[in-house]
Symmetry: C2
Subunit: 107 residues, 2 copies
């Protein structure tokens, strides 16, 4: 649903990190997982996804490595770093805070 796309703006990084808290993964799979977990209501645009990866790796919150490309298209796997885990925990708290604020303002 593109209607909500604007409203989720700013949460992209946390959403990606949340996936990587579970296990190492790669772009395509992460996006599929997001779709599955929201019943198809939400997905990241590829350009958004990959630019977020770049930012997160630049910031040292994730690291990447190429998967075994014995078969199929090559995959770049991402792993969350200790810094990324700390960042994710803070982000989650901030989301709860933001949610409380908006709930208070949209009665």
């Amino acid at each position: 649903m593109s209607l909500t796309a604007d409203l989720v703006r700013g949460h992209t990084e946390s959403i990606i990190l949340a996936q990587l808290m579970e296990r190492d993964s790669y772009g395509y799979e992460i996006n599929k997982a997001i779709q599955a977990q929201t019943g198809g209501d939400y997905e990241l645009k590829e350009a958004t996804l990959y630019s977020a990866f770049r930012r997160l790796e630049q910031a040292g919150l994730i690291s990447s490595y190429w998967g075994d490309a014995t078969t199929g298209a090559r995959r770049r796997y991402y792993a969350i770093t200790p810094n990324g885990q700390r960042f994710y925990c803070r982000s989650r708290e901030e989301w709860h805070n933001a949610r409380r604020i908006i709930d208070a303002l949209l009665p």
Copy 2:
């Protein structure tokens, strides 16, 4: 708290419209009301506030008129239009939708 400011991004217009659903008001008062309703945890930056007013009026979601400036600084009052009311109701639903999605993705 500036930390959450980024996360509230995209909700500015809905937040303003919510205030105008109660009564006509002006910029400064709206911002004070927002601070009061969030226990001081949130406020809009002036530049953000006034650029949002411009967008909303341009879009026909609010209208404006100058208050009686018999005393004190002049005030530009804003009123929500019927279109604005419809927009607000939709925005509120979209917020609930976005909240559900993010809650699902940040376990």
